[in-house]
C-alpha cells in the first residue's frame, strides 16, 4: 500500500492527509430551501338591519286563520276575514350584509307563539320565514319549516317573515302587537 501512495508522498501529501481523504463520507454538503405561500381570509362582520315591519292589516273575528305570505299576500280560512282597507299588509324584511358568498345561520326569537292585544287578549301566531339572495320573496305560505340558514350573494342576503295568525270567534277587537327578532352568524 505504501508503494502506491508513493506518488502522493512525492507531491508532499502526508500520510495523515491520505487517511482523511479516505475517511470522507460519500454525502454531499447540499442544502436546499423552498418557499410556500400563506393565505388568510378576514371576513366582513355579518350584520342585519330591519327594513320592513310585519303588518297584517285589519281582520274580523271568527274562528279561522289569516296567512300572510313572505310576499305580503293574505289568504284566509275558516270563519275569519281580512279587510283591504286599513294598513296595507307587509311581510317583515331584514337586510343582511357580509362577505362574498358565505353561508350563515339564522335564529328567530320574539313573539313566536302569540301576539298580545287589549286586556291581555292573545292570538296564536306561527312564523313563515325564508332567506333569499335577492330582494324577491317567493310568496311562501308554509309555516311548518323555518329557514335556519342562508347564503350571501356578493355580500348580501334578505330574510322575509310572514305569519299564520289564528283568530278566535270572539276575538276581542283592538290592536295586537308582538315582535320578531332574527339573529344571524357565519356558520
Amino acid at each position: 500500500m505504501l508503494n502506491s501512495l508513493k506518488p502522493f508522498l512525492r507531491h508532499g501529501v502526508g500520510a495523515a492527509c491520505i487517511a482523511v481523504v479516505g475517511l470522507v463520507p460519500p454525502i454531499a454538503q447540499a442544502a436546499d430551501n423552498a418557499s410556500a405561500s400563506a393565505t388568510a381570509e378576514v371576513l366582513v362582520p355579518i350584520a342585519v338591519v330591519k327594513a320592513t315591519d310585519l303588518v297584517f292589516g285589519n281582520v274580523v273575528p271568527g274562528n279561522g286563520d289569516i296567512t300572510l305570505s313572505t310576499s305580503g299576500a293574505r289568504t284566509r280560512s275558516g270563519g275569519t276575514a281580512f279587510s283591504t282597507s286599513g294598513a296595507a299588509p307587509t311581510a317583515a324584511k331584514f337586510d343582511i350584509t357580509g362577505s362574498g358568498n358565505n353561508t350563515f345561520s339564522i335564529l328567530y326569537t320574539g313573539s313566536d307563539t302569540v301576539l298580545t292585544g287589549p286586556a291581555a287578549a292573545t292570538m296564536a301566531i306561527d312564523w313563515i320565514t325564508e332567506a333569499v339572495t335577492t330582494a324577491t320573496p317567493t310568496n311562501k305560505t308554509d309555516e311548518t319549516t323555518d329557514a335556519s340558514t342562508g347564503t350571501l350573494a356578493s355580500g348580501a342576503a334578505f330574510i322575509y317573515v310572514g305569519a299564520k295568525l289564528t283568530v278566535g270567534g270572539a276575538q276581542a277587537a283592538g290592536t295586537y302587537t308582538g315582535n320578531v327578532v332574527v339573529t344571524v352568524g357565519y356558520n
Binding site: 362582520p45 310585519l54 292589516g57 283591504t84 324584511k93 283592538g174 302587537t177 339573529t183
Partner: protein
C-alpha cells in the same frame, strides 16, 4: 372623567348586547288590528234587501276602528239583487265562488260608494254551518 364615562358606557352596551360577539340581530314589530263586529239583526231571513244592509251601515260606529265588513252566515239569494245595485261590491274570497249555489255574481273587487263596506266573506258553506241566516256587520 370623560374617559371613565366612555368606558362605563361601552361596558353597559356590551352587557346589554347579551348575545355572542359573532352574531348580529335586528327586530321587526308585528301588528294586527282586529275590528269589532256588530250583530245588526238576527234571523233576517231571505230575501234580504239592500235597505237592510244600508240600515246596518248607517248605524252608529262601534268603539273600535277598522273597515266595515258584511259577513254572510248563509248564502242570501236576495243579496244577489243587492249586488246588482250600483256601488255594492265585495272583495274576492278564495273558495267563495265554489261554495255558492246558483248564479251569484259578486264582483271581485271594488269598494262601496259609501266607503263602509270593504269585504264580504261566506262562512256558512265553508264551515259547514248552514243554520245561521244572520248578517254581521263590522263598522269602521
Amino acid at each position: 372623567m370623560r374617559g371613565t364615562l366612555a368606558a362605563g358606557a361601552l361596558l353597559v352596551l356590551a352587557l346589554a348586547a347579551g348575545r355572542p360577539v359573532d352574531a348580529a340581530s335586528a327586530g321587526a314589530s308585528v301588528t294586527v288590528r282586529v275590528t269589532q263586529s256588530v250583530v245588526v239583526q238576527a234571523l233576517l231571513g231571505a230575501p234580504l234587501s239592500i235597505n237592510d244592509i244600508l240600515d246596518a251601515l248607517r248605524a252608529p260606529a262601534g268603539p273600535s276602528t277598522g273597515s266595515v265588513l258584511i259577513r254572510l252566515a248563509q248564502i242570501a239569494p236576495a243579496l244577489t239583487q243587492g249586488v246588482a245595485a250600483p256601488g255594492f261590491a265585495a272583495d274576492a274570497v278564495p273558495g267563495m265562488q265554489a261554495a255558492m249555489a246558483g248564479a251569484l255574481t259578486l264582483p271581485l273587487s271594488g269598494t262601496l260608494q259609501r266607503e263602509l263596506v270593504a269585504a264580504v266573506s261566506l262562512i256558512g258553506q265553508e264551515a259547514g254551518n248552514d243554520a245561521q241566516p244572520s248578517i254581521t256587520v263590522a263598522f269602521n
